[in-house]
């Protein structure tokens, strides 16, 4: 109904403090939302589909007798359920998302539109190759961009995510060693302390032993330490560059030389490629294999934890050892090869996944790359590094940086030395950021730095946005120093949930919904 009295509503003379609980438990736009198992009904469906005409099933004795117990919702109820759930999430589109090592940059919507073209989205991986020449062309063009940007000789497109790419690269190394007859003698992979947890996990998964390399005081890896750790048993080094402390490894060329002299290979974790696209080509530095997180550097959406995509670029030495399937151009036509012997050298190590990789992500990544072009890609990296250094300088006098005033790459690292004795921890500080409308930075990683806070603003932030972020964090640091502990210890106060009890969740895991125990009438009445 219209306000037919035409009177504007005022703010009230003096709004009293009001903290009453609402009947629904909602707080205006912040709503509660039950589980689909609590609101759905088995007989309800949001889809109209007619029963088939009578026919004789061909199921043998295997028709389903077990209950499905799957609730249904009509379409309006479904929309409301998921829209309400979505409103409990933070997102890049809603605010700065400074998760170090995750590269939460803008996800262009053009990419989404193009990935949904029927010619890409509605195409089956096993259609005749004569009917998918455009899809294969896209993969060929994207491969070309990735190789040019990295200096590589080949690229394996099928890995499904960064960690899967690591697996691919390390398998190629294992295959190359086996081809040299050193598969059983070279078992050790060197991994710096500062590495992502996936690196040692990947190496161990396929039977390598992990030998840790300590990081230097300044957060980098010394070529001397690598040389000393090298021996005839060493298969490879897994090094992140730019590294997890946000620094470009200054001795990377010497490290590559050391591992190559010792007969090993150089696997580079490409998680931080966003800092150097168009500035440095990793294979020029001596890298033999590197995965590229298309969902970080090339803007494919993170989607609440995937799907990602992790193509692996390979140096000339490792190029023959890529996994199937292969793409081959025969004149005007492209074809997919799945049999190792068809590739000519017979060195491929096998297959990583059922089909050809994350096509939907390939379309998005190529759309991003073509939009930027060579000039825009370099500019994006420079802006990412610029924003990170601007944050580093903007906070350097009020927080503590483990490696002093040294310039960083695309992420700025702080430690918790400045919090010592204040009663506030890195975790508390991060949770207080939530109340200020920010997603926290990466915390307690890398492990080599006490109470680490790794801030990656990305190139997607305007100067005004980064300025406000810096001012907010400065205000929080002043609050710490004034001893305003309650701002931190109980935070967040304004999020859809207060701090959640993760210990309880792990001790008595509840991993699925189960119907509540029925109330027995007689006892309930007593």
């Amino acid at each position: 109904m219209l306000n037919n009295q035409g009177r504007p509503t005022g703010a009230g003379e003096s709004a009293p403090a009001y903290n009453r609980k609402t009947f629904t438990g909602n707080r205006a736009l912040q709503t509660r939302e039950a589980l689909i198992f609590e609101i759905g009904r088995p007989e309800v469906s949001g889809i109209d589909i007619d029963e088939p005409e009578a026919f004789t099933p061909r199921l043998g004795a295997l028709a389903r007798k077990t209950p499905l117990d799957l609730p249904g919702l009509s379409e309006p109820e479904t929309m409301r359920h998921y829209v309400r759930l979505s409103q409990k999430n933070y997102a890049i589109d809603a605010g700065l998302y400074p998760l170090g090592s995750c590269t939460m940059k803008h996800n262009p919507r053009l990419n989404e539109k193009l990935a949904r073209l029927p010619g890409f989205a509605d195409v089956h991986p096993l259609q005749p190759t004569s009917t998918v020449q455009g899809a294969l062309e896209l993969i060929e063009v994207l491969s070309g961009w990735l190789m040019e940007l990295t200096g590589a000789h080949a690229v394996a497109m099928s890995p499904k995510a960064g960690a899967h790419g690591e697996l691919c690269g390390m398998m190629a190394i294992k295959a190359a060693l086996a081809a040299r007859g050193e598969g059983s003698t070279r078992k050790v992979v060197l991994v710096p302390d500062s590495a992502h947890g996936t690196n040692p996990a990947t190496a161990a998964l396929i039977g390598f032993e992990v030998r840790a390399i300590p990081a230097r005081e300044d957060g980098t890896v010394s070529a001397q330490a690598v040389r000393e750790a090298c021996g005839p048993d060493v298969a490879a080094i897994m090094l992140t560059n730019p590294n997890t402390c946000g620094l470009f490894e200054p001795e990377v060329v010497e490290i590559a030389a050391a591992i190559h002299e010792a007969g090993g290979y150089f696997y580079c974790d490409g998680a931080n490629f966003n800092a150097i696209v168009g500035k440095v080509r990793p294979v020029d530095l001596g890298v033999d294999a590197m995965h590229i997180n298309l969902h970080k550097t090339f803007s494919t959406p993170h989607g609440g934890g995937g799907p990602g995509a992790g193509p692996v670029v390979l140096s000339e030495a490792l190029a023959p050892f890529a996994p199937a399937p292969f793409l081959r151009r025969m004149g005007a036509d492209l074809e997919i090869l799945t049999l190792v012997e068809e590739t000519g050298d017979g060195a491929a190590f096998g297959r990583l996944t059922a089909f050809h990789g994350q096509m939907g992500m390939f379309v998005r990544a190529l759309s991003y790359m073509m939009s930027h072009g060579s000039d825009g890609l370099r500019q994006a990296s420079e802006d990412a590094v610029l924003n990170a250094n601007y944050v580093r300088v903007g906070l350097g006098d009020v927080m503590s940086a483990p490696f002093g005033d040294r310039p960083c790459m695309h992420e700025a690292l702080f430690d918790d030395n400045w919090l010592k004795g204040t009663g506030v921890t890195t975790l508390d500080f991060a949770k207080a950021m939530i109340d200020e409308g920010y997603h926290p930075m990466t915390m307690y990683f890398p492990l080599v730095v006490s109470g680490a806070m790794l801030i990656e603003p990305t190139e997607s932030e305007s100067r005004a946005s980064v300025d406000l972020f810096i001012m907010t964090l400065r205000d929080l640091t002043f609050s710490v120093r004034r001893g305003e502990l309650e701002r931190f210890s109980g935070a967040p106060y304004y999020a859809p949930r207060r701090r959640l009890d993760e210990t309880r969740a792990a001790r008595q895991p509840i991993l699925r919904w189960t119907p509540p125990a029925p109330i027995i009438e007689d006892e309930a009445a007593e």
Binding site: D93, P125, P301, L339, L386, V393, R497
Partner: protein
Amino acid sequence: MRYLPLTPEDRTSMLRRIGAPDIDALFADVPADKLLQELPDLPRRKSELEVERTLSRMAARNVAAGSVPFFVGAGAYRHHVPASVDHLIQRSEFLTSYTPYQPEIAQGTLQMLFEFQTQVANLTGMEVANSSMYDGSTGCAEAVLMAHRITRRKKAVLSGGLHPHYAEVVRTLSRMAGDDVMTMAPDVLAGEDMLACIDKTVSCVVVQTPDVFGNLRDLNALAAKCHENGALLIAVFTEAVSLGLIEPPGAMGADIVVGEGQSIGNALNFGGPYVGLFATRQKYVRQMPGRLAGQTLDANFERGFVLTLSTREQHIRREKATSNICTNSGLCALAFSIHMTLLGESGLRTLARVNHANAVKLADMLARVPGVEVLNETFFNEFTIRVKGDAGQLVERLAAQGILAGVPVSRLLPRAGFDDLLLIASTETNTDEDRAALVAALSSQLAH
């Protein structure tokens, strides 16, 4: 550049604030001879219009499944996805959020994953499910590793009905990890004797149902023999819709159930991204790979959800982790979950019956075509036919006529003597006209 908010003036003044003379001063750690002076040898920036034009041209060179009579399956299936699914997964808060490490501001993703886990567990007839894997094939390989951890044995036996690409993924990972794999011969008629292969050295048996040739498998005897010998039964499916109509592996004694979830909520996407479903028994949950959402309480004793049991995972355990995985297939899991919620039990059952009815109708029509033999006794929405001559060439000829007729078995098992076999899938998207077109084209091709 439209995605970059910093202006040239911003850059200059920010460099001044930092105290760097120019941008390359921030790249001082890069060896001078490695810092690129020239731009990469690639095209310059393009407008949205130009990019759209370039990629649309590539897309137009492909034959979209929806534009022709389409019967291709073998691990990926074309189903109708409701418009609301694609709308909801494109909401910024789902699309552009990260793994829910900060649960207070990620309850949307976490509750959705908790619901997804419950749906997958109920669908497969199991007790618990994880929050998804990359796809069915990688989930299958991870299941084998999990079985090895539980049984402390290292030998897997793969059914000859397992999708050949899945088998290859398992063999690749197992070979690299130094584990044994025994693969049964390809088994078109589901006549293999797996019971004879199970002894006390076997860690797990991997069986697909419906198998890659479409046959439904009764797993009860196999499960019993596995358990007698201390081995685990891993059941695989590539068509999730089938579970709306056939007995789930969990009810037949499977210990781990893995499968491809693409066919609910997700497009074909030329092979990815897809979503792996992974379910097991409660007692094995601590050996399960992948992320798990769990229920807990917040400081106000309100129900909430968090990622849990992370002590299994790589970022805590490093080289002792159960797996190296750190992402799942979150957005595809969301699409699966929304579609499943829209379907509900009654919708899923009907959808599955329509699929089966369509496939039965098509199989009966094809059985009457001279030169075609339908090989399956049982199937869900996909079956194998034997044709006169080479099935691969036949499929090419039919494609030239605008019909995508199915997957030649030689595409999955090259040079293995199956050149006359063709897998044909039929879902609710096929019409009577589609079936008539296929039958007519096949009849005329085989009459030559």
